[in-house]
Amino acid sequence: MSAPRNRPEIVVEGFPRRRPRWTEIATSADHKDLGRLLITGALGFLFVALIELLLMRLQLAIPENTFLSPVAFNRMLSLYGATAIFLFAIPLALGLFYYVMPLQIGARGSALPRLGQIGAWLYVFGATVLYVGFLFTPSEAGVNPLAPLTELAFLANNGVDAWASAVGLATLGFVLIAIDLVTTLRNMRAPGMAWRRLPVFSWAAAISSWLLLFIGPVMLAAIAMLLIDRNFDGIFFADGSGGAPLLWQHLSWIFYTGSYMLILIAALGAIAEIVPTFSRKPLFNRGAVIGSLVAIAVVGTLAWMQNMLTAPIGVGWMYFAMIMSLALIVPIGLIAFNLIATMVGGTLRMRAPLLFALGALAFIAIGLSGELSHSLVAAAWKLKNTTDATASTHFALVGGAVFGGFAALHYWFPKMTGRTMGESLARISFWTMVVGALLAFAPLFLAGGEEGQVIDAYKFFDGTGVNAYNLIASIGSLVLAIGIVITLMNAILSRTGGPEARHDQWGGDSLEWLTLSPPEPHNFDVLPDVRSAQPMRDIREAIAHRAGRPTEQPARESQPVA
């Protein structure tokens, strides 16, 4: 028996584009277009950040190198930090949320599309300001430019202003997108999509957005104060006139620590979608994973003073930071446990998304385990601002943003483009990246932990016992860069030339797989009635039941009505 032909269908394929493509891109307020804008921008800036990283590693390949001047190195460092965090990691997470979350909750669009559009373009403007500024006078003040180095008296050119404007614009954009995400999640869920049935990645979107609503304005306030200090004779961070240099540290570290957590939450959310799909098992315990993601956002951000353990603050505050960062052991450990338990007894299809997801989890585990010693107050007195910190942070964030981001990219690429990414290139890229990341960052653990090599320095001295570590790290970062570029090339090539994807490419359980690949502008012809946390599985079963045959893919021309 075949499927009945007279069920209601709305076929919407084949609408002609009325305007040129660039006009569509520039004026669209559709969450999918804006999500793709953010993701494309983020991946582009990943490439830029890699070049900056390689230039710095080239300078640090041999002791007392003169390849980059001190000023050039500091500019590269400042640019790398801003690019990697504000132009790559956060927008990649937000872009994925923006694209996927409305599909997952069964919405036909986002709740406040124009607000999200302003947000996405503010990010583009911020990026432009940063790199236009770079052509003239880039910032020299470092990844988190600590006051009062940023005061006019110490850096008189416009570099810090350009940095502050760029980062401020981008952060404002992120906050606006977060408002749209939160509103969409509250108002646009399909009938029956209760919070308890929300997919984990959408939960991650909700948690990250709420987190951004708290930390984003804090950063914006700090940047406003910085700009007032520099341009209107302000004294917020200047010592001697009632200002407080430590105020900048508190405000900025709240944001940086919070966005660290945001990147981890986004990555873990994506991994928690990918692992069950590719194990063909439900998540071991949804509630525990979601609860842990909430805990990471709250507890992790409250640990901001972990970055200030050598500053003149009371020892009580140091212990507070230690409690909060050690408390992270519980949610992170629980998530790792649940993901591993999900795989136990499953049937793993070791495709690219799962491969990158497992790599991401492993690197996040290494990075956060390295961070443990940075939480133990007295140990942090030795390790802070050594390359040990560089290693921990890069393991966790390269694991989260790059490996996790690539896992998500491979997973949702078929949905976004209608094509799958090349599997063999993905494998080559993955193993190159694993080797590269281990070579690039593991030696820095030793250089920092054993020999006390300091971070952010434009050179290191011969005879301090760190020559070999740095050379290996430089070679490793080149290998890592090659691996990353292979995946970027793979994405570009597969966009038009990849194997055609099915609408339900991986057999996922959430609603984005009910839409066409790529989805139509309105996402869903018919809104599904959600009855469980695995709506797509219910739909597949309903179709199979109705047709009296085992589950198979929905027809290409239209969507099944469930």
Binding site: L77, L246, M343, V454, A457
Partner: protein, 232 residues
Amino acid sequence: MAPHSPGTDQIDTLLWIGFVAAVIFVVAIVGGLLYTARRYRSERGAEPRQVRGGRGIQVRVGATLALFAVALFVAGVVFTERARETPATGPAGLQTASTEPLTIKATGQQWLWRYDYPNSAFSYYKLVVPVDTSVVLDLVSTDIVHTWDVPELSGKRDAVPGKTNRVVFRADEEGVYRGQAATLSGQAYAAMRTEVQVVSPDEYQAFIESQKTDIQTAQDRVVRLIEQGETP
């Protein structure tokens, strides 16, 4: 780097505890991932077991992790408190510092450290302290944030303008200990190094006395030149 002060001994012990904890976590998580990824391939041909975990196992795993975190916290507090203690001056140390520690003011500035000794002598770059003596450095800054870091003698501490931070140590052996500023402070940051020379109490006394006379002589000469109407 081998510790040469009671405080850095404690720091090293705590570092070991942190390292062991990190290894346990990495082995458990990465090992678990590698094992399950190999063991449960779809090629083995079994149907996936549709099981979910109940609340009980989550509570047990969570409680185990929490115990681990609490143990680390307790270790962290114990060793931090020990590392914070001001050590007492030993028998080979400067005896005038037997009750009150020897207090030296260390001033960070772009891109040099200045040390002011109790007898109003001062030195740049090189700090001279007596061996086996309790030393307190009062860290201040005249411009921006700098971090004082001589890893063999002490943990690092920030010199923040408008605030005073403290470093305590008791060097157990004569010799030269090198350090480097550890917060980005502008162009010459990487070259902002310092050196602690640990000498016997007699040599220390001789050093600060001669430093004082040298500074006095130089200042007198400048004053004399100005009085004579010359530019010094």
